[in-house]
Structures are given as structure tokens and as C-alpha cells.
């Protein structure tokens, strides 16, 4: 069984819930920060980012609700009003997608032994890894 108490688990999940909501907010900002021809290329990717991060946030929120709790949301996002290139937008997205992946990997270590939860976190890791790989491929990094 996981060594985390229910409170600790809810706190960990709430942290990831906040990560996802914050990522969605950042995606929306990035989506509106790219100007010029680059928009044609990156807009669909960033728009997909908004949709998927919101979906992830909802999955996490459902998990928290299934534990009989309400998610805590504490985010502070400050995005400068600067136009950026499509490449820079993808680079920024990669930064917070990698952070989200690290978050799930960290959670997996903490819930070791709780099989259903482990499986859930593993599936999230698979999804996040896919995003990170896609962004890295696009950036050729």
C-alpha cells in the first residue's frame, strides 16, 4: 500500500491539478502570443495543448472527488505581453510539459504499492511522455 495518508494524497493530487490548470492557462497565453506565419504551424498544437491539459485537470479532479474531497487550486501565473516566435512558444510548452511529467513521475514514487493509483499515474505518465516527445521532435532537440 502507498505510504501516503489520504490527506497527503489529496494534497499531491491537488498540486498536479494546479499544474494542469496552470499549463492550460499558459497554453492559452502562448496561443495568443505567437504572431505572423508561425501561427499557421503552431496554433493547432497549442490549441490541442489547451484541450488536453484541461482534460487532464478534470481527470485529476475526478480522482480527488472519488477520495471524497474537493480539489484545492492555488496558482499564480504571470505571462508577459510579448510577441514570440512559434519555436519559442513550443520551447516554453516543452518546459512546463516536462515539469508536469516530472510531477507524475514523482507522484508514482510516492504511491508505490497502491496498484490502482499506480496504474492511473502510469497512464498519465504515458500521456505526458507522448506530449514531451512530440514537442521535442518538433523542436528537433
Amino acid at each position: 500500500m502507498s505510504t501516503l495518508s489520504r490527506d497527503e494524497l489529496v494534497s499531491e493530487l491537488s498540486r498536479i491539478f494546479a499544474e494542469e490548470v496552470e499549463a492550460a492557462t499558459r497554453y492559452i497565453h502562448l496561443l495568443n502570443s505567437v504572431r505572423g506565419m508561425d501561427r499557421l504551424v503552431v496554433e493547432p498544437i497549442l490549441r490541442e495543448g489547451v484541450t488536453e491539459t484541461i482534460q487532464h485537470a478534470e481527470v485529476i479532479a475526478r480522482k480527488i472527488r472519488s477520495l471524497g474531497r474537493v480539489p484545492r487550486l492555488d496558482i499564480k501565473v504571470n505571462c508577459p505581453p510579448e510577441a514570440i516566435s512559434g519555436r519559442e512558444a513550443l520551447r516554453q510548452a516543452l518546459v512546463f510539459e516536462e515539469a508536469a511529467l516530472e510531477g507524475y513521475q514523482d507522484l508514482l514514487r510516492r504511491v508505490e504499492g497502491d496498484v490502482p493509483l499506480e496504474e492511473f499515474v502510469r497512464s498519465q505518465i504515458a500521456l505526458e511522455s507522448e506530449h514531451v516527445a512530440q514537442l521535442r521532435e518538433l523542436l528537433d532537440e
Partner: protein, 173 residues
């Protein structure tokens, strides 16, 4: 450059200073610092930490290895040491010498720690060294200082510190 514009150019914002200090604290406590650990330490999201660390990496203040472990570069470490020293001297000055309560002294020192110049910090340190010296003149000075009524009697015409208006009134409103 005008002072306020120079202030805006400061690479080390208040938030950046706390990210750098969190890395230093984590390495001292547990021997490593990852984005997750910093996020937990500062109680913010990993995404925010990652975004905040980018300019610090670009400025060469932190280094990330292949295992995504972070450490301070020599210039980053020097900056953290300076910030921590400035916080400690400011806190001591406000609390022990000015008599501000400990909590408020800590808050104000935290606000100033990354903004105080080395020159000012060196002079404050020199002043604290003087206070700690045990010189009989210090004892007389401290006795006189501690006897000063912190409440202003509000007569700017005769006050040697005020010119044309009560300065104390301005900070009491």
C-alpha cells in the same frame, strides 16, 4: 540610467532570489535539488518553477545535469551567499537595533535582501561590527538610542530632521 529603470533591469527578481535560495537550501539539506523539490519547498507549481528557472539558467546562475538535478554555478552561489548575508544583516539591524518586532523585521529584510547594494551591506556590516565591539562609546550610544521616544512629538518647525513638513506624519498615515 535612471534608478527606477535600473531597478527594472535587475535579473534577480524577488521570486528569482527565492528560487536560488531554495536550490541552495535543498542541496544543503538533502544533497540535491530537482524542479519538484523546489516547487514543494516554495509551495508553487513545477511549471512555475521551470519557467522561472529559464532566465536563471540563461544567465549562468544555475546548472542542470543530465538527471535534471540542479545546482548553483559559482556565480549563482556567490549571489545566494550575498543575498542571505544581506537578509541577515538587514534583519538584525531592524530587529535588534531599530526595535522592530522579529516577524516584521524578517518580512522587510526579505523584501530588501536582493535589492541592497554590496556597498550598503558592507557599511551595515561595519556598523554592526562597531555595535558588537564592546567599545564603551557603543554602550553610551546604545543607552542613549534606547532612551529615544519612537513617537514623534510633531513639531516640524523645531525638529532638526524635518524640513518643511513632518516626516513622521508621512509614514504614520
Amino acid at each position: 540610467m535612471e534608478v527606477w529603470k535600473e531597478f527594472e533591469q535587475n535579473v534577480v527578481t524577488h521570486s528569482a532570489a527565492h528560487h536560488l535560495m531554495a536550490i541552495d537550501d535543498l542541496i544543503r539539506k538533502v544533497g540535491y535539488a530537482r524542479v519538484s523539490d523546489i516547487a514543494r519547498e516554495l509551495d508553487i507549481t513545477r511549471g512555475s518553477v521551470s519557467i522561472s528557472l529559464r532566465p536563471l539558467k540563461d544567465a549562468g546562475l544555475i546548472i542542470q545535469d543530465d538527471n535534471r538535478h540542479l545546482r548553483l554555478s559559482p556565480s549563482g552561489q556567490a549571489l545566494v551567499d550575498a543575498i542571505k548575508t544581506k537578509r541577515a544583516v538587514a534583519q538584525r539591524l531592524f530587529h535588534e537595533f531599530f526595535g522592530v518586532d522579529a516577524e516584521q523585521a524578517e518580512i522587510d529584510a526579505c523584501k530588501l535582501e536582493h535589492l541592497i547594494s554590496n556597498q550598503v551591506a558592507q557599511r551595515v556590516l561595519a556598523f554592526l561590527r562597531f555595535i558588537d565591539s564592546g567599545d564603551p562609546a557603543v554602550c553610551r550610544f546604545l543607552q542613549a538610542w534606547r532612551g529615544v521616544d519612537p513617537v514623534c512629538n510633531g513639531t516640524p518647525e523645531t525638529c532638526p530632521s524635518c524640513q518643511g513638513g513632518c516626516l513622521a506624519e508621512n509614514v504614520e498615515r
